[in-house]
C-alpha cells in the first residue's frame, strides 16, 4: 500500500519533467484548407493558414487578410508537410482542416497517396470535404470570398448550402471517397471548383471593398474518378442527373416547360422538397436493367402556363410535366456517365448486394458491362401545394375582349 502510494507520488514528480504532446494555442498554425497539386513530378502541398488575430483580435479584423497561403513540395505528402516547417514559425495543425482541394493534374495522377496519408494519420480527419479544381488548387485557396473571413470554411459552407438547396452537387468527404473507391465499383464522383469571372485573382483584402469582385470561386462540374484517377468531367445538369440516380437529391428546383416533351422555354419551376430514389437491378436477356423509381414531392414555385390550377386534373398535368423533366435530367446524366464508362452510380455495388453470386462472374468485366446496362425510369412527382395563388398571373390577366 505504502509502496504504491510512494510510487504514485514519484511518478507524479517524473511527469513534471516532460510535456510530450502539449502544444499551446499560440504555437500552432490552424489550417483551414489544403490544396494538392502535381507539378514537375512532385507533389505540391498548399496550406491555407488562419491568422486568429486578424479575425478576432482586439485590433479587429478587416485590414489584413485572415488567412495566409503557402506551398511546399515533396515526393510524398508527409515529407511535403514536414518541409513546410522550413517556412512556418508554428506547427501545422490539420485537425480543423475544412476542405481538401485536389488540382486537376494531381487528380489525374491519382489520389491514392492522399487517401493513404489520411487513413494512417490521426490528426487528419476524414470529415474533410474533397473538391477537384479546374485550375491549380493553390489558385482556389488564394481567393478571398465575400461575407466570410476564412475562405476554406466558406467553400465548405458553399457545398453544404448547395446540397441543401439545389442538390446539383453533393458534399464528398474523404470518408465518402474512401468508401466508394474501396467498394466494388472503385469509382466515385467529386465536385469541382472553378474560378469564374474575369480571371483576375481576388487575393487582396482591398478588392473586397468593391461591391463586386472581379472573380469568384464557384462550384462547377463533377469530376469522375475511377481507381484513384480523374477520368473526366461532367456538367452541372448531368451532375444533377447523377444525384437523382444515386438518391442524393433531397431539395432542388426543377424548371419545366408548358408543353409535353419538354419543348419550348422552361418558364415554370417546381420546388422538390423531398425525394427518394430506389434502384433495383434485374437481369433481362443477358443484360442488366436498373429499375429506377423516383418518388418526389414538392410545391409549385413559378407557373407560366395556362389552365386553372384549382382543378385536380390541371395539377396532374403539371405533375406529369415535372416528372417528364426530371426523367430527362436523369436520362441525360445517365447517358454521360455511360459514355465515360465509370460506374459512379453504384450499380455494380447494387448487383453485388442483391445477386452476390452473379456479381462474382461479372465483376472483372464490369467496366465493359456497365455501359451495356439499361435503365428503366419511373418518376412520380407529387405537388403538395401550388403556393399562395391559384391561376397563373398570365391567366388572371386575360380579360375577355382584350
Amino acid at each position: 500500500m505504502k509502496a504504491i502510494r510512494l510510487l504514485l507520488l514519484g511518478s507524479l514528480l517524473l511527469l513534471q519533467t516532460g510535456c510530450w504532446n502539449r502544444v499551446e494555442l499560440n504555437d500552432i498554425a490552424i489550417i483551414s484548407a489544403t490544396g494538392v497539386d502535381w507539378e514537375n513530378g512532385k507533389w505540391v502541398l498548399t496550406n491555407q493558414i488562419v491568422i486568429p488575430k486578424a479575425i478576432s483580435g482586439q485590433a479587429g479584423g478587416g485590414r489584413t487578410a485572415a488567412v495566409n497561403v503557402f506551398s511546399s513540395t515533396g515526393d510524398n505528402f508527409r515529407i511535403a508537410i514536414s518541409k513546410a516547417s522550413q517556412e512556418s514559425s508554428r506547427r501545422l495543425y490539420f485537425s480543423h482542416n475544412q476542405i481538401v482541394i485536389i488540382g486537376q493534374e494531381a487528380a489525374r495522377k491519382g489520389v491514392g497517396p492522399l487517401l493513404e496519408a489520411y487513413l494512417r494519420n490521426h490528426d487528419s480527419r476524414e470529415t474533410v470535404d474533397v473538391f477537384l479544381s479546374k485550375g491549380t488548387a493553390r489558385l482556389m485557396l488564394e481567393q478571398l470570398i465575400p461575407l466570410e473571413q476564412i475562405p476554406g470554411a466558406a467553400i465548405q459552407r458553399m457545398i453544404v448550402n448547395e446540397e441543401m438547396s439545389s442538390s446539383s452537387y453533393r458534399q464528398m468527404t474523404i470518408h465518402h471517397v474512401l468508401m466508394d473507391l474501396l467498394g466494388h465499383t472503385k469509382a466515385t464522383s467529386i465536385p469541382g471548383l472553378a474560378l469564374a469571372g474575369s480571371g483576375e485573382s481576388t487575393d487582396r483584402v482591398d478588392m473586397l471593398s468593391q461591391t463586386s469582385t472581379p472573380s469568384k470561386v464557384r462550384l462547377s462540374e463533377l469530376g469522375l474518378v475511377y481507381g484513384d484517377k480523374l477520368v473526366g468531367w461532367i456538367g452541372e445538369e448531368q451532375s444533377k442527373g447523377v444525384m437523382w440516380l444515386t438518391n442524393h437529391v433531397d431539395k432542388t428546383t426543377v424548371a419545366f416547360a408548358c408543353t409535353a416533351g419538354g419543348k419550348g422555354r422552361q418558364g415554370s419551376s417546381a420546388r422538390v422538397l423531398h425525394s427518394v430514389t430506389k434502384v433495383k437491378p434485374q437481369q433481362q436477356d443477358g443484360k442488366w436493367v436498373m429499375k429506377v423509381n423516383i418518388e418526389a414531392q414538392g410545391t409549385l414555385l413559378e407557373y407560366d402556363c395556362g389552365g386553372d390550377l384549382m382543378k385536380p386534373e390541371e395539377i396532374w398535368e403539371v405533375e406529369r410535366l415535372v416528372e417528364e423533366r426530371i426523367a430527362s435530367i436523369v436520362t441525360d446524366g445517365w447517358e454521360v456517365v455511360r459514355k465515360h464508362k465509370v460506374d459512379v452510380l453504384g450499380f455494380g455495388t447494387l448487383i453485388y448486394k442483391h445477386h452476390p453470386k452473379t456479381w462474382k462472374v461479372i465483376e472483372r468485366n464490369w467496366k465493359e458491362e456497365f455501359p451495356q446496362t439499361e435503365i428503366e425510369l419511373n418518376v412520380n412527382m407529387k405537388l403538395s401545394s401550388t403556393g399562395m395563388s391559384g391561376k397563373s398571373f398570365k391567366e388572371a390577366q386575360k380579360k375577355p375582349g382584350l
Partner: protein
Amino acid sequence: MTQTKKTALTPLSPSLRANVQAVNARFGGSSDLVVRLFRSDAAPERELGLLYIEGLVNTDVINESLLAPLMSMKLPPHMEGKSDRLMEALRTSVVSIGSVKEAAALEEGIQQMTDGWCLIFVDGNAVALMAAVGGAKERAIGIPQTQTVIRGPQRAFVEELGTNISLIRRIIRSPDLHVQTHKIGTQTHSSVAVLHLHGVADQGIVKEVYRRLAAIDLDGILESGYIEEFIQDETFTMFPTLLNSERPDSVAAGLLEGRVAVLVDGTPIALIAPTTFFSFFQSAEDYYQRYDIASFVRTIRYAAYVMSMLLPALYIAVTTFHQEMLPTTLLISLAAQREGVPFPGLVEALLMEMTFEVLREAGLRMPRAIGPAISIVGALVLGQSAVQAGIVSAGMVIVVSFTAISNFVMPENNMAATSRIIRFGIMIMAGMLGFFGIFISVLFVLIHLASLRSFGVPYMSPVAPGGKSGGLWRDVFVRVPWWAIVLRPLDMKLRNPKRQRSGRKPPAQRH
C-alpha cells in the same frame, strides 16, 4: 458520568481549613477562586466554607439559594444539637438547588468546580457537598452563519453544550433520544455528548463511537474538529467522513435517519456519523422546499461540484492537447486571446487558481471593514488588468471564475475544500497528459472514494455498493416527495429501517 481517574484520589480532610488550603493550593492561588467562610445560625460552632470559581457560576443563585438559606437556616427539631449531622441537613432541607452531589475526594470536588459547581465544606466533615450553580454568561442562540437557508428554522447551535442538547431535545421530544456525555481532554475536561435515537440507530455504531471517543487521550479538545480527526475511519483521505453542522434541525434529521451525533462543549459545530459522500450534497433546505425544486437544485450541486474539480483541468487539456475537440470558431477566438500570453496554459491556470485561493483566504482572514476594498482589487486589478496587460487570457479568467463560483454552491464547506485541493492535482495531470491525465486522476479519486468507509458504512453507498433496494435511491441525486421516502437512507443494519408506512400518498383532492 465522570471519567474514572487514573491517579489515586486524595481523600478530603475533616478540617475545613485543611480542605480550603488544599483546594487553594491545587488551583495555585488563582485569583478567581472565591472562598467564603461563614457560620450558620443553626450551628454557630462549626465553620462552613463555600468555594466556587468566579465567572463559571451564577452569583445570583449563590446569593439567593445558597448563602442566604445557609446562613439563616435552622436545624429541624429532630436534629437539634446534632451538629455532626449538619451536612445531611444541608443536603436534605437547606440547599435549594437541583443537582447536588457529595464528594469524598479532593479531585472530585475540584473537577466539578471547573464545571461551574460550588463546594460546601462543613468543618469536621470529610465530605464536601457540591451544588450545580453554573450559569456563566453565554452568547444567545443566533441564526446560522455558514449553513443558511431561505425556508427553514433560523436557529444555530451556540458554544454551550447544555443549550445545544436542549435545542435538539426541543425538536425530538422523545425519551428515545439518548445522551451520553464524556469528559475528554486531560487538561480541558471538555464535555463531549453523544446523541442517538434509541431503537433507530445501530447499537454497534453507537458503541463504536463510544469506543473511539474513549481512546482519545489529548490534553485539550477545543473544537469538534479535534474529535473528528480522532474518530474518523481513515486519516489519509481528503474527503470528510463526518458531517459537520451548526444547525439543530440538521442534527435532528440525522438522528431520525439513525445516525449518531457528537456535540462538543465550546463549539457550535456538531458532528454527524456515519455519513456518506452524498450527504454532503444535501442541504437542510432540500427537505423544506418543494421536492421538485429541491431535486433540481441538488442535481445542479452535483454538476457544480464536478465542475469545480474538473473545469480548469478540462480547459487545460482541451486547449493544450485536444484542440481538435473545439469548434473551429471557438478555437480561433481562443487562439487570438492567447497571442502574446507568455505562460503555458498550465502555468497560466495555476497562477490564476493560486491568485483566487489567496484572495479567498484573504477575504476570510482580514478584518471585515476592508472586505470591499479587497474585492475591488481582486476583481478589477487581477481580473481585468491581467487580461488587458496580456498576462493571462480572458478565457482562462472566465474558467477560473466559474470554477470558483461552482465551488460556493456546496452546502458543506469541508467537501468544497476537498475539491479545491484535488483540483490542483488534476490540473497538473491534465497539463502533462491531457485527457488521459484527467482520466487517471478521476479514476484514482473514484477508487479512493469507493474504498472509504464511515463507521463501517461504505462511503459511496447507496450507489456503490448499491442495488439492494430501490428505496434507498430516493434521496440521493434527487429528493422524492416526503410520502415516498419510506426507508431510512443508510445502507446499514438499522433496528428500524422504515420511517413511515408505505403507501401514504395523499389522495388528490377534487372539488
